[in-house]
């Protein structure tokens, strides 16, 4: 035996070193006291556990009904309505059938009668479920109210229903990105639903039963249908649009395709289904010229009557920026806008000053995070300070990315007599509008921008749109941006945008439409924004304007009235 039996250590006589004995005893006593110490610690911990149990016992007086009413099974969410009171999302109560076998008097009778009403439940299944002494068994989940009525008519003891709450979106995918969806526990996981959970449905305040959103279901549906059509028509990989009420900042409709069915939350997880209106930032191209023109004209440093040299491209080191629709002559300010001349816009911006331009972007809200009530938002990406070349490209919308909603709000502010309103998805009162409204440009400049947008529709890059939405006095600006792949611009893949407002004699709505990688509809058509994003915007306007009470007006005097005074004298 190499390992000594420890019991022998007690026999002191066998140990040669007697001196160690005392030490050993001391250690033995030490282990004993350490054991008692451990017992003490354990008792303290067990008391803590008991204390916690007592705390849990006190916390909730055992009222099962109250608890069940609060449990997620039946937790109610407010009904979401559009601005006309149409339901967008609502709770439906689905009656689920259960049995309490111990309360059933005659199993045979119950099986027979239930089977007659619910033939999908086999008699074997019912018998197996109903026999015995259990307190609760499910028979069938989420039946229709009609079925519930029939079962109740049977008058069987021990058979009852419990209402389970289910979120239902009657519009299907029409407002999917906007509304978002809920999880199995009825908690919002995206869109307005999630925003509500975070900011409105707090436990300390009373839960509203109805919430009215700013959107108009008719507009929403029309936009959804037209954008869906555009995906087919132009073989695009994505399309999105947003319409804003310029006088209130309320969002009338917001669609981003491809989208999902909020009734089937898992469908939101597929690739590429982000909300491009608020959670995607893009180079919106020449639509930015509207912003550049507004700022430059408002500064007083540039006038509509000014002329800029666009005979040849602008050179920055080894880069030359030239025009797409090149005129190669001296252009007036309205001509620069309607031909969408990059060169003219750069000269115009330079006459105004690059730092003024950068400050104006901030004033137009492009630097702010979107104030909209959605969790899915993305911040703009704009250089803090512009170099000469960065300012030049930014003047026609390249080298900076913003969300389409940023652009829609800015356009709305420009045409609304220069009063910018942050976008919202909720109803806004007149007092809030006065409080939130911010004068970003003068009403006179706003009138000039309206003229330029209308001019572009009648005689510029936006004529396709105008032809479709004729009579509703629309105006707009195209933006065709080459997409960046692996750090370079590729010329055959475009990201097209169109920013519009209507009716321009009394601006009410602003609209931004984007189409990602559109192809030519037919060999005769082009692939720039006027051919696709512009046409989609035109179709949306033609479809929603009558719904929104905008009467068509074909009188050319309306367009004449839009021409600012300084140009009118020149024409006459």
């Amino acid at each position: 035996m190499s390992i000594a039996d420890p019991t022998t250590s007690d026999l002191a006589g066998r140990q040669p070193e007697i001196a160690l004995e005392g030490g050993r005893k001391a250690r033995k006593n030490l282990t004993r006291s350490r054991i008692w110490f451990s017992v003490g610690v354990l008792i303290v911990v067990f008391l803590i556990i008991c204390g916690r149990l007592i705390q849990l016992g006190i916390e909730k007086p055992a009222d099962p009904d109250l608890l069940r009413a609060n449990s997620e099974l039946t937790l109610a969410r407010p009904t979401l309505l559009d601005r006309n009171g149409e339901p967008l999302a609502l709770d439906i109560e689905a009656p689920s059938l259960y049995a309490e076998p111990r309360n059933i008097i005659d199993v045979d009778e119950a099986v027979e009668k239930l089977h007659a009403v619910l033939p999908q439940l086999s008699t074997d299944f019912l018998r197996q479920r109903l026999e015995g002494d259990e307190g609760f068994v499910w028979l069938e989940r989420e039946l229709s109210p009609a079925m519930q009525e029939k079962v109740l008519q049977l008058g069987l003891p021990g058979i009852d229903f419990v209402n389970e709450t289910k979120r239902f979106y009657p519009g299907g995918s029409d407002a999917s990105h906007l509304l978002g969806t809920v999880n199995i526990d009825n908690q919002g996981i995206s869109g307005v639903e999630r925003y509500l959970d975070r900011h409105v449905l707090n436990a300390d305040s009373e839960r509203p039963t109805e919430i009215e959103l700013s959107i108009d279901l008719r507009v929403q549906h029309a936009m959804h249908a037209e954008l869906e059509d555009s995906l087919m028509r132009y073989q695009a990989i994505a399309a999105a649009g947003v319409m804003v009420n310029v006088k209130t900042g309320e969002i009338m409709g917001l669609v981003s395709l491809p989208d999902f069915d909020p009734n089937v939350p898992a469908s939101a997880l597929e690739e590429g289904r982000i909300n491009r209106i608020t959670a995607g930032t893009f180079e919106l191209g020449s639509t930015f010229k509207t912003i550049t023109f507004a700022g430059a004209l408002d500064s007083g440093l540039v006038h509509l009557t000014d002329r800029f040299d666009a005979t040849s491209g602008v050179r920055f080191g080894r880069y030359v920026i030239d025009d797409y629709h090149g005129q190669h002559r001296v252009l007036s300010v309205p001509e620069i806008f309607k031909y969408s001349s990059n060169v003219g816009t750069i000269h115009l911006m330079q006459a105004w000053g690059k730092d003024n331009y950068r400050a104006f972007l901030t004033r137009m809200g492009f630097d702010d995070p979107l104030p909209v009530e959605l969790p899915e938002t993305k911040r703009s990406s704009i250089p803090h300070e512009f170099s000469e070349i960065a300012a030049a490209t930014a003047s026609f919308g390249h080298g900076l990315s913003v969300t389409p909603l940023h652009m829609a709000s800015a356009i709305a502010g420009l045409v609304n007599n220069g009063i910018y309103l942050p976008p919202t998805l909720f109803h806004r009162t007149p007092e809030e509008i006065v409080e939130l409204g911010r004068q970003v440009i003068s009403p006179e400049t706003s009138a000039r921008i309206r003229y330029l947008l209308r001019l572009n529709a009648m005689d510029g890059t936006a004529t396709h749109m105008n032809r479709i939405a004729d009579g509703y006095i629309p105006g707009g600006k195209t933006g065709t941006a080459e997409k960046v792949e692996n750090g370079r611009y590729v010329s055959n893949k475009n990201f097209n945008a169109f920013a519009a407002a209507f009716p321009l004699n009394d601006p009410q709505y602003a609209l931004v439409v984007v189409v990602d990688e559109p192809k030519r509809e037919n060999p005769q058509s082009g692939d720039t924004a006027g051919w696709n994003a512009g046409e989609v915007a035109g179709r949306i306007i033609a479809r929603v304007a009558p719904l929104l009470g905008v009467a068509p007006d074909f009188d050319t005097a309306v367009d004449q009235a839009l021409v600012p005074a300084e140009l009118r004298s020149g024409q006459e």
Binding site: T7, L30, I49
Partner: protein, 383 residues
């Protein structure tokens, strides 16, 4: 049967074993059975087995468990040591095999498939490790010149590295705590204890930094608002639903939604039906088993027996405490079962083996009552 007229091993056993402790353990097993009736049917149904799948298996596992426990409790001190050593060697070997041949469940390789049943070797490592470490430290206290501590540390390092490769954070913690407990009981100085405390803090910070699943659990615990804290929320809801007296058998609703209701969260899942008072009774029984075993430990004059019992009892107690605290959301989720109560065949039999050793070692002077009736120092005489 238990007449003292004849000195059969069984009679020896009956009159020397701590019958109170034995009764408490059997009572705990009964409670486990009862809780299984409440907590496992929803899980079994969810997993597509029959409603009583886990309950029936739990019941069937009780027989080998009780058999192992009683069998082990019949052993002598020396047999305990060698059995523990054998179990430790075999289970460390199996532990190493899990890394290569293990079945991967939920991202960890902890199980081996042997004859169609899955076995978790780390469960057997725990009690065997406790006994062997106690043995080594007892040797060290009597013969300081033996490198017993070094061997103990080497065994610890081997097991910990194998466990971390699985990875199994819960068992790693428990093995480390067991080792610390033996160190503590064996009488290391308070200064060293403080040093180890600092090292433990550093280790847990390291675990947080190195293992994403540990970090996630801790984050979720510290930030209970997040949706991902589903398990803990449901567990608490189930406790609240039960109230003092419970909803009664088959009546609780929340337990249906408690994940792992048959295993880690059996305590809170069953509380919905049985109520908080019953849960406190269960906590009391667990506490009684641990304290009773420790009381038995301090009565032993044999230093090895004393250390081994303490190590086994504290291991049992700490595992139960961690599980209970997780259930009551006093600690972040760990993946620790409630001994004798949670579902799990390996766990139950291994715990029974550990408790069997406690029962054996707490037998009144088992060293002087060997079967032959010869004096206890016979081994020493013959060596």
């Amino acid at each position: 049967m238990f007449s003292r007229a004849q000195k059969t091993p069984l009679v020896e056993w009956w009159f020397t074993v701590d019958r109170t402790l034995l009764a408490a353990i059997l009572l705990l097993m009964m409670f486990g059975m009862g809780l299984s009736f409440a907590a496992s049917p929803p899980v079994a149904e969810r997993l597509g087995y029959g409603q009583w799948y886990f309950t029936i298996r739990h019941f069937l596992f009780l027989f080998p468990a009780i058999g192992v426990m009683l069998g082990t409790s019949l052993m002598t001190l020396r047999q305990i040591r060698w059995t523990a050593l054998a179990v430790l060697i075999v289970s460390i070997g199996l532990l190493a095999l899990t890394l290569k041949f293990g079945v991967e469940i939920k991202g960890a390789r902890r199980w081996l498939l042997i004859f169609g049943t899955s076995v978790q070797p780390s469960e057997f490592v725990k009690p065997a490790f406790a006994v062997i470490i106690a043995w080594l430290f007892a040797e060290h206290m009597q013969k300081p010149d033996m490198p017993a501590r070094l061997i103990a540390f080497a065994i610890l390092a081997t097991i910990l590295s194998l466990l971390m490769m699985q990875p199994d954070f819960g068992q790693t913690v428990l093995i480390t705590l067991t080792f610390a407990a033996v160190l503590f009981i064996s009488g290391i100085s308070w200064w060293l204890i403080m040093g180890f405390g600092v090292a433990a803090a550093a280790l847990s910070t390291g675990a947080y930094a190195l293992f994403p699943h540990v970090a996630r659990r801790v984050d979720l615990f510290l930030n209970p608002e997040s949706i991902g804290n589903y398990q803990v929320n449901k567990a608490l809801q189930s406790l609240l639903e039960g109230g003092w007296f419970g909803q009664g058998p088959g009546e609780a609703i929340v337990r249906r939604y408690v994940p792992d209701a048959h295993a880690d969260f059996v305590f809170s899942a069953a509380a919905g039906e049985f109520g908080i008072l019953f849960s406190m009774l269960l906590v009391f029984v667990i506490g009684f088993v641990v304290v009773r075993a420790l009381w038995g430990a301090q009565q032993r004059s044999n230093i090895f027996a004393r250390l081994a019992i303490s190590a086994l009892a504290l291991q049992f107690g700490m595992q139960a405490i961690i599980n209970l605290m997780v259930n009551l959301s006093l600690l972040p989720p760990k993946g620790m079962t409630l001994p004798f109560v949670s579902y799990g065949g390996t766990s139950m039999i291994a715990t029974a083996f550990g408790m069997g050793m406690v029962l054996s070692l707490t037998r009144r002077k088992p060293e002087e009552r060997q079967i032959s009736g010869l004096p206890a120092f016979r081994g020493a005489v013959t060596s």
